[in-house]
């Protein structure tokens, strides 16, 4: 298979991937960069387990063609904690408020929530639910996920 060279910013680092142009962003992150945080839950953009942030927007990386990422900035779950290991408020909140159970949806869920909180650190419950509606979860019934995101928002507002 022919490969192409795609350069972009990944979790703050400038990187280049040499991958077939038919690969998706998810393939590239998991196979080329060995970042297994974003998961394949359906491969069709229907569950959100693969959610990452591209140029500030949450996207389903399983249906995102890798050539389109050229020059853009990608953030995955592996890139949100501080370099010194300090957890991002979302990570902390999910642990403290039982927003994570089996954890399979968690990477995508946290990224969808982060995309929201980065733009709007004080969302209403309806705004939270709208922005995570594309992230399916079978374990939690979403209640404690919403609570975790609200608590994270509080933490973020207090930091400012």
């Amino acid at each position: 298979m022919k490969k192409v060279s795609i350069s972009f910013t990944l979790n703050g680092d400038k990187v280049t991937a040499e991958v077939p142009p038919s690969w998706t962003l998810l393939n590239t992150l998991r196979e080329y960069f060995e970042l297994t945080g974003p998961k394949e839950g359906c491969g069709a953009g229907e569950c959100g387990a693969c959610t990452v942030i591209v140029d500030g927007k949450a996207v389903n990386s399983c249906i995102y063609p890798i050539p389109e990422i050229e020059g853009k900035s990608v953030t995955t779950i592996e890139g949100i904690a501080g370099k010194d290991g300090t957890l991002h408020p979302l990570q902390k909140a999910f642990i403290e408020n039982n927003g994570v159970q089996c954890g399979f949806c968690t990477s995508g869920m946290i990224m969808a929530a982060k995309a929201l909180l980065d733009h709007n650190p004080d969302p209403t419950e309806d705004e939270i639910r709208t922005d995570i509606a594309g992230n399916l979860c079978r374990c939690t019934g979403y209640v404690q996920i919403v609570e975790s995101i609200e608590k994270a928002g509080e933490m973020i507002r207090q930091e400012k």
């Binding site: 142009p21 229907e46 709208t130």
Partner: protein, 288 residues
Amino acid sequence: MVDYDYKKPKSLKKVFGLLKEYGPKATLIAGGTDVMINITNRELSPEILISLQGLKDLCYIRKNNGYHIGALTTHRMLEQSDMVRAELSALHDAASQVGSVQIRNVATVGGNICNAAPSADTAGPLLALDAAVILEGPNGRRRIPIADFFTGPSETVRKGNEVLIEFDIPEEPGRFGSAYWKHSRRKAMDLPLLGIAVGLTLSESQEISDARIGLTVAAPVPIRAHKAEEFLKGKRLDDDVLAEAGKIASSEASPRDSLRGKAWYRREMIEVFVPRMAKLAVERIRSE
């Protein structure tokens, strides 16, 4: 094994050149939320994807002698536009409910309409708003009223070497309001069982001076309910009138039984929601 090349030309001229070069081996891709899935489930097996994302100037929402929406405008942009929410409300209703935020961030309204699923959320509103589609090919442009754009499920009048570049929506004189109802089993991540879009203009004396009703998943293509529209013109808004309009619209539809729902249910929902959306459209006119 899925294997294709990917090119991202920076001009329409280059797009046409590539389309000519590759012919049926090429597929155009915008946001990719439909194309990528069709490739995975083997409905499409292109040798090359020609991305339209390089045509950066096709992404806009403008008001200037009517409304002009570039084909590469994402559903999210429509959702976040105050102007679209206030003045093209049915389109806003539809765009805001497509899939999920992740999908809306990437999926373009042009791509969605070219994909021409009978269930496309924005199709009904575009009908109710009397939109026109601008296609551009190597031989020039043509303007197609949206009502004439769809020819069958997943089929449109767009030729293989044409690109949809813009949606034009006329600015309505007078007091106009619109609304769209997506009838689905879930509140997100769903296709509509039925879509009802209503655009109404009220006269000074509170009569309906103009009405347009767009129905989706009610026929092989998105349709206008012309008889119901005619019935409404000149009438005052009351429950009986609206109920009758709903019945007429329902009789104009030809829904079928499908995995996602039964025809009888779709017909009944047309009767229920044409009145409800008409009322919402009027509420929006009155609250301006």
